[in-house]
């Protein structure tokens, strides 16, 4: 009886494997599944059991990504990822004495600084003498120089 149960559990666990293919942009990104490195992208034919799994992706010049996948019982799961690139931004302010804060957690007072920003929108808050002086969204979409000027809403309208 015990042997039968063990056999049954074995059969069910073997039957319930799902073939996982992972493709990542950029190619060659390191794929870590549930804490174990399974290879460099693309990975094909890796077997996983249905259930929740954590995939972590790492590649030089890209923001590391962590994603949880609830793998369904299926023949194959093809997962495609596009990682977010990191951009080198040269930041420069024309005024002195300002404090800059990005995304609520990164702060500096330098007029010129080199930043390593993930592609996408970032919230820039500027303080002058500890008072909020400006609040705007900046978008990193390439390696570039960013010259800070205070946000001034357009006047007029209908």
């Amino acid at each position: 009886m015990k042997q039968f149960l063990i056999l049954q559990v074995f059969v069910v666990s073997v039957m319930a494997q799902v073939t996982l293919d992972v493709k990542v942009l950029p190619k060659g990104a390191t794929i870590i599944l549930d804490g174990k490195e399974i290879g460099s992208a693309p990975v094909k034919g890796y077997s996983v059991k249905p259930g929740v799994h954590e995939i972590r992706l790492e590649a030089k010049g890209y923001a590391p990504a962590i994603h949880e996948i609830a793998v369904q019982d299926a023949k194959r799961l093809i997962a495609d990822f596009i990682m977010n690139p990191m951009y080198k931004i040269k930041f420069r302010a024309k005024e002195k004495g300002l404090t800059f804060e990005l995304n609520g957690e990164h702060t500096w007072r330098d007029e010129k600084i080199k930043l390593n920003l993930e592609a996408g929108a970032h919230r820039l808050r500027v303080y002058y003498l500890d008072e909020l002086f400006d609040d705007q969204i900046i978008v990193a979409d390439r390696n570039a120089e960013f010259i800070y000027t205070r946000y001034q809403p357009e006047l007029g309208g209908n």
Partner: protein
């Protein structure tokens, strides 16, 4: 000393003021993330569940088949529903994991479209994926069923092995025998459900007088008809029982030859004899107007037209050897 060209000096100044101006700028220590999840696309490839339901169509041709698949716990919302033409194979493809894998947890329903064809329900055990071949389903029109009990009228004892015959007005006949518990059942072709010319006879070939009844279907497909056979208890107590052995036996009002014959007796009719005069026997015959309603009529028969029945109609044991005559 050679003085550099003016344009070279201007170019160098611009270089220092722009790009090279960051040469000594500090670098922020940490990369700054947006916490934006990566773009992701998940595509599943599923295996199939393939179900094949073979059919055997008997003397009918449905217009179509409605096919449904239900989970046994929800016979309202079908997991699958489709119409199949008669020439199509009934095959169903479902995605992996759509069926319960509980034992007999899924119901496959085939509903032939047309008159008098009953729905077929097949319970089966689902699989995660793969092939399922269901048992062959017989598509047949609803039969006209006559069923009931055959028992001895004397003591209500069930009679097994009694031959029953159903005959229509054209002479087409169907045969069955009662089982040991007295049950019998005719499954007549569907069209008899709309006819009223069927006569069912019980006791054919036995020592019991044959009892005949009309099977009046009138569009119904199930008739119950019981057949009490043999004489009543009251009749048995009237005298010794004799069985008529010849058809067209005269049952006279007096013992003399040529006396009036109100009716003729048939083979296997029973006479309860109370008096004997030479080779003439006087007694009663029992005529049934219905199962419960009978009348006893007295008269005379010749000795050579009857045989002593002993206690056959009252015996505690079935005597099928005697019944086979």
């Amino acid at each position: 000393m050679r003085i550099p060209h003016t344009s070279f000096l201007v170019f160098s100044a611009m270089f220092v003021l722009s790009g090279c101006g960051y040469m000594f700028a500090p670098k922020y220590s940490d990369p700054i993330y947006t916490q934006r999840p990566p773009l992701i696309s998940l595509r599943y490839e599923y295996r199939d569940i393939h179900i094949y339901a073979p059919l055997q169509v008997v003397n009918t041709l449905p217009e179509a088949y409605q096919v449904y698949i239900y989970d046994k716990d929800n016979e309202v919302d079908a997991l699958f529903a489709a119409t199949y033409m008669p020439e199509e194979k009934i095959e169903v493809y479902l995605p992996q994991n759509t069926l319960s894998t509980d034992k007999n947890g899924t119901i496959f329903v085939i509903s032939p479209q047309g008159r008098d064809m009953p729905e077929i329900k097949i319970k089966f055990t689902g699989v995660r994926y793969g092939d399922i071949t269901l048992p062959v389903s017989k598509i047949i029109k609803t039969p006209a069923i006559v069923e009931g009990l055959v028992f001895r009228r004397y003591d209500d004892r069930m009679l097994g092995g009694i031959q029953l015959v159903a005959a229509d007005s054209t002479g087409r006949t169907f045969y069955t025998k009662s089982r040991l518990d007295g049950d019998y059942r005719f499954e007549l072709p569907n069209e008899y459900g709309y006819r009223n010319d069927i006569v069912v006879s019980a006791g054919v070939g036995s020592l019991f007088p044959v009892v005949k009844k009309d099977a009046q279907f009138n569009g119904k497909f199930n008739l119950e008809m019981d057949f009490p056979l043999g004489p009543s208890k009251e009749f048995v107590e009237q005298g010794n029982l004799y069985i008529v052995i010849n058809n067209l036996t005269h049952f006279r009002i007096a013992s003399s030859n040529g006396s009036f014959t109100p009716f003729l007796l048939a083979k296997n009719d029973i006479v309860a004899v109370t008096q004997v005069a030479g080779n003439r026997l006087y007694g009663l015959v029992e005529i049934f107007w219905s199962d419960e309603n009978a009348e006893m009529i007295s008269g005379w028969v010749r000795e050579q037209d009857v045989i002593y029945a002993g206690n056959y109609f009252m015996s505690p044991q079935d005597d099928l050897e005697l019944a086979k005559q």
